[in-house]
C-alpha cells in the first residue's frame, strides 16, 4: 500500500524535477510488479547483464542508500529546509546586520574549526562553505562579520594557492576544489587587511571604554561587554595577523619570511585569549536526533551537498572548538619552524632540515609553505641562492674535489669547467625532486623515494664518467694529484641515504611483518651502512688530501711552520652515527635469527608466495641502482648462512653477539659530543635491549611459547624487544 501511494505522489510532482528532454517523451510505464516477478526467475547469484557489462564494471558502481557512498542520502533524511544564503536572509533565518557579540564570536569560532577541517583534507564545500556568510560577503552589512568573511576567504585562497604551487599533496591530504565559489577575488589583499584593521581598532576602543576603572563599582553588564569585545578583538586580530603572515609568504624577498615569523609569534600570543573566551560564543543547536549535524547559526552543513561528486567523503566531521585552539598553536609552531629554513644555506643542511621537519608528520599547509619558501621560483633557492652554487658548495664541503678548488689548475681549465658545470646542472633536478619528496606525507615519500633512485643511478653513472675525464686531465697537468671518485662518492652517498631511508621508513609505516625483520636489518647492517661508512671515510680522506695540499702551499708561501691544529673532521659525526646505526641493525638482525631458532617468530604458511617473493618485493626499487649492486635473495641466503661457521652458532651465542652490538652502539652514542634527541632515542632502545639479550643468552624463558613483543614507541626504526 505504501508503495502505491508513493507512486501516485510521484506522478503529481514529476514535471518539476525533470529536464525538458525527459519531459517530452515522458511516457513512462510502470513495470514494477512485472520486473520484480521476472527477477525472481533468475537463479541465486546470477547477474542478468549485457555482454559488454560484467562483474568488474558492476563492482565500480556506487551503492545507493549506503551512507558511506551516497552523498545525496543525508540531504534527504533531514526534516528541515536547506536554505542557501539569499534564501536564509530572505526568510529571516540569519541576519546580515545587528549581529550580537556572542553570535559573532560563535560564528567566527565555527569558521576557524571549518578552516582547520579543510586543511586536514576535507573539501571546502563541506567545511568553510557550510558557513553561509562567506558565500557572498558583499551582502553582509555588519562590518566585523564582513571583514572576517573576506579574511577567511583570503586565507583559504592563499593557502590553496600555496598548496597547489608546492605540489606536495595527494588526494588524502588536501582538496583544492572551490566548487565555483568566489574567493573574494574582487577585493585586494590590502583592502581586506585594512578592513580587518579598522574593525580591530574600533573594538580596541570599545575594550578600552569598558575597562574597569579604579574605585569604580563594576557593572556586570559592562564587564560582560568588555569580555566579549576583547574576545571578538582577539579573533579579528588573529585573522588579520594570520592573513598578513600568509601574504608575507607570497612575497619574493627572504626578509618577508622573517617578517612572517614575527607575525606568527604575535598570532600565537592571541591564542590564550581566544581559548579562554570560547564559551562567550553561541553554541550549536543540537538536534542530532536523526543523525543530523549540529546546526549553528549561519551554517548549513548540507547547503553544498548537491555539489559533491557522487563518490565522495560524504560527511565531514568538523573539529571541536577546544581542539581548534590547540591545532592553531601547533600550526603556528610549524610555520615558525618553516621560517627557520632561511638560516640554512648548505644543501646537506637543508636536506636534513626537510627530513627532520617531515618526521613530525606536519600538515599540508606547513609542508607547502616550506617548499615554496625554499624554491620560490625554479632557479633561485631561498630567494637568493642559485641551486647551481648550492650544489657546488655541497660538493666542496663533502669531498673537496680538486676541480672546485681555486688552488688547482683544473679550476680555470675550460674543458674541466664544462664538465663540472654540465654535471652540476644535471644534479639540479634530482636534488630538487629529492627535496620535494620530503615535502610529501610520510607514506607517499617512501613510494617516491623508490622511484627517484633511478634518477640517482643515472647521475651516478655520469659522475663516474666526469671523474674519469677530470682525472685524466689532471694527470697531464699536475701528475702528483688525483681526481678519483670524487663526484661519484658524493652521488653514492646520497643514493645510500635514500636507500637507507627507504628501508627504515618501512618500520615507521608498519609495513614489515615480524618474520621479515631479519633480512631488512641484515640488508641495512651488513650492506647499506657498511657502504655508507666506506663512502663517508673515502670522502673524509679526500678532504684530508685536499687540506694537505692547501697547507703545503701555505707553508711554502709563508715559510712559517703553521701550528698543527687538531680540528674535528666535518664528517666525523655522521660516521659515528652510522656506526651506531649499523650496530643497532646488526643487533636486531642477530636477535631475530636467534628468536627464530628458538621458535619465537611466527612464520606465515607460504602458499602463493615464498620468502623469496617477499624479499624481492621489499628490495625491488634497489634493482635500478648499479652501485651498490643489489643483493639478490640467493646471495643473501649464502652470505647469511650460519653453517659456514664451525661450529655453527647457537641461539645463545647469537643473543650474546646481539647484546654486544647494542653495547657497542651505546658506547658510541655516549661519546657523541652534544647529543641531540635522536642520540637519546636510540640509547633508550639500546640499553634495555642489552639487558634483554643477556637474559635470553642465559636461557631466560627459553621454553615459553609466547611470542616476543617489539615496541617501537621509543624509536621508530628500532624496537625494544620484550619477552613476556
Amino acid at each position: 500500500m505504501v508503495m502505491k501511494s508513493s507512486v501516485e505522489e510521484d506522478e503529481a510532482g514529476w514535471g518539476l524535477g525533470i529536464p525538458e528532454k525527459m519531459k517530452n517523451n515522458a511516457n513512462w510505464v510502470d513495470i514494477t510488479q512485472d520486473f520484480r516477478g521476472a527477477c525472481k526467475e533468475l537463479n541465486l547469484g546470477e547477474l542478468l547483464h549485457d555482454k559488454l557489462f560484467g562483474l568488474f564494471e558492476a563492482m565500480s558502481a556506487i551503492e545507493m542508500m549506503d551512507p558511506k557512498m551516497d552523498a545525496g542520502m543525508i540531504g534527504n533524511q533531514v526534516n528541515r529546509k536547506v536554505l542557501n544564503f539569499q534564501q536564509a536572509v530572505k526568510d529571516g533565518v540569519i541576519r546580515v546586520r545587528d549581529l550580537s557579540l556572542p553570535e559573532l564570536i560563535g560564528i567566527m569560532d565555527t569558521c576557524f574549526c571549518c578552516l582547520i577541517t579543510w586543511l586536514e583534507g576535507h573539501s571546502l564545500a563541506q567545511t568553510v562553505f557550510t558557513c553561509l556568510y562567506v558565500h557572498n560577503p558583499d551582502l553582509i552589512e555588519d562590518p566585523a562579520m564582513k571583514a572576517f568573511a573576506l579574511g577567511i576567504l583570503k586565507i583559504c585562497d592563499i593557502a590553496r594557492e600555496k598548496v597547489n604551487k608546492a605540489a606536495v599533496f595527494e588526494e588524502e591530504d588536501f582538496q583544492a576544489m572551490t566548487y565555483g565559489f568566489k574567493m573574494a577575488n574582487n577585493v585586494t589583499d590590502l583592502r581586506v587587511t585594512g578592513m580587518l584593521k579598522d574593525v580591530e581598532d574600533d573594538l580596541q576602543r570599545r575594550v578600552k571604554s569598558t575597562r574597569s576603572r579604579q574605585g569604580e563599582q563594576r557593572d556586570p553588564v559592562v564587564e560582560m561587554e568588555h569580555q566579549q569585545c576583547l574576545a571578538l578583538f582577539s579573533r579579528i586580530r588573529f585573522t588579520r595577523l594570520l592573513l598578513t603572515a600568509l601574504i608575507a609568504f607570497t612575497k619574493k624577498e627572504t626578509s618577508s619570511v622573517s617578517e612572517a615569523q614575527k607575525l606568527m609569534t604575535q598570532t600565537a600570543d592571541l591564542l590564550p585569549a581566544i581559548h579562554s573566551t570560547l564559551h562567550h560564543g553561541v553554541q550549536a543547536q543540537n538536534d542530532t536526533s536523526k543523525g543530523d549535524h549540529p546546526i549553528m547559526m549561519g551554517f548549513e552543513p548540507l547547503v553544498n551537498q548537491r555539489l559533491l561528486p557522487p563518490t565522495f567523503p560524504r560527511y565531514a566531521k568538523i573539529i571541536r572548538r577546544e581542539e581548534m585552539v590547540c591545532y592553531f598553536s601547533k600550526l603556528i609552531d610549524r610555520i615558525k619552524t618553516v621560517c627557520e629554513v632561511i638560516n640554512t644555506t648548505h644543501l646537506h643542511g637543508i636536506l636534513d632540515f626537510f627530513c627532520e621537519f617531515s618526521e613530525q608528520s606536519p600538515c599540508v599547509l606547513s609542508r607547502s609553505l616550506l617548499q615554496t619558501t625554499f624554491l620560490m621560483d625554479s632557479k633561485k633557492v631561498l630567494g637568493s641562492h642559485l641551486m647551481h652554487d648550492m650544489i657546488k658548495d655541497a660538493l666542496r664541503g663533502f669531498v673537496s674535489p680538486p676541480v672546485l678548488s681555486p688552488k688547482c689548475c683544473l679550476y680555470n681549465n675550460h674543458q674541466a669547467k664544462d664538465y663540472i658545470d654540465s654535471f652540476i646542472t644535471h644534479c639540479s633536478r634530482p636534488f630538487c625532486s629529492l627535496i620535494q619528496i620530503h615535502g610529501h606525507n610520510r607514506a607517499r615519500q617512501r613510494d617516491k623515494l623508490g622511484h627517484i633512485l633511478e634518477e640517482f643511478a643515472t647521475l651516478q653513472d655520469e659522475a663516474e664518467k666526469v671523474d674519469a675525464a677530470l682525472h685524466s686531465l689532471l694527470l697531464k697537468l699536475e701528475p702528483q694529484r688525483q681526481h678519483l671518485a670524487c663526484l661519484g662518492t658524493w652521488v653514492l652517498y646520497h643514493s645510500l641515504r635514500i636507500m637507507i631511508h627507504y628501508l627504515l621508513s618501512g618500520f615507521e609505516l608498519e609495513l614489515y611483518s615480524m618474520h621479515e625483520y631479519y633480512y631488512i636489518y641484515w640488508y641495512l647492517s651488513e650492506f647499506l651502512y657498511a657502504w655508507l661508512m666506506s663512502t663517508l671515510s673515502r670522502a673524509d680522506s679526500s678532504q684530508m688530501a685536499e687540506e694537505r695540499i692547501t697547507e703545503e702551499l701555505q707553508r711554502r708561501g709563508s715559510s712559517k711552520k703553521t701550528k698543527k691544529k687538531k680540528k674535528t673532521r666535518p664528517l666525523s659525526r655522521e660516521i659515528t652515527m652510522s656506526q651506531a646505526y649499523q650496530n643497532m641493525c646488526a643487533g636486531m638482525y642477530k636477535t631475530m635469527i636467534a628468536l627464530d631458532m628458538d621458535g619465537k617468530v611466527r612464520k606465515p604458511q607460504f602458499e602463493l608466495d615464498s620468502e623469496q617473493v617477499r624479499y624481492e618485493h621489499r628490495f625491488a626499487p634497489f634493482n635500478s641502482v648499479v652501485t651498490p649492486p643489489p643483493v639478490h635473495y640467493i646471495q643473501f641466503k649464502e652470505m647469511s648462512d650460519l653453517k659456514k661457521y664451525t661450529p655453527p652458532p647457537q641461539s645463545a651465542d647469537l643473543y650474546l653477539a646481539a647484546s654486544k652490538h647494542f653495547q657497542q652502539a651505546k658506547l658510541i652514542l655516549e661519546n657523541v659530543p652534544s647529543p641531540d634527541p635522536e642520540v637519546n632515542r636510540i640509547l633508550k632502545v639500546a640499553k634495555p635491549n642489552i639487558v634483554v639479550m643477556k637474559l635470553l643468552a642465559g636461557g631466560h624463558k627459553k621454553e615459553t611459547k609466547v611470542l616476543p613483543q617489539f615496541d617501537f614507541s621509543a624509536h621508530k626504526y628500532f624496537p625494544v624487544v620484550k619477552i613476556i
Binding site: W28, T32, F35, R36, C39, E41, A58, E63, G72
Partner: protein
C-alpha cells in the same frame, strides 16, 4: 494512467508465469540499455540506463542522474550526475521504463 499500467503489468506477469523462466529472462534482456526510472524508498528518483539486475532486484543503472522529490527546496530542476549506481532491491519502490522500449520486438 495508473490503472492502465497496473493492467498492463498484470497481463505481462501472467504471461511470464505461463511460459516459464526463459521468457522472464528474455523480457529483462529486452530492457537492457533502455532508459529506466527508479524511485527509491527515501523519495529520490534515479534515471539511467538499465545495465544489470539479479534475483533480489538489485539494479545497476548507467549514467544515472539523481532527482530529488519535488517538495524539496532544492529541486530546481537540477539533476545530480551520479554515473554508475547500484540500487539495492529493498530500496526500490517503483520501476518505470519509457513506453516505446516495451514495444521492441519480443521473441515468441
Amino acid at each position: 494512467m495508473a490503472a492502465m499500467n497496473e493492467e498492463n503489468g498484470t497481463a505481462v506477469y501472467n504471461a511470464v508465469e505461463a511460459s516459464g523462466p526463459s521468457l522472464a529472462r528474455q523480457k529483462l534482456e529486452n530492457l537492457l540499455n533502455k532508459s529506466m526510472r527508479i524511485r527509491m524508498t527515501d523519495g529520490r528518483t534515479l534515471v539511467g540506463l538499465f545495465l544489470c539486475t539479479d534475483r533480489d532486484c538489485n539494479v545497476i543503472l548507467g549514467s544515472a542522474q539523481e532527482f530529488l522529490k519535488s517538495t524539496d527546496s532544492f529541486s530546481q530542476g537540477e539533476p545530480r550526475v551520479l554515473g554508475l549506481a547500484m540500487i539495492p532491491g529493498h530500496h526500490v519502490v517503483s520501476i518505470e521504463v519509457e513506453s516505446d522500449s516495451l514495444l521492441s520486438p519480443r521473441v515468441i
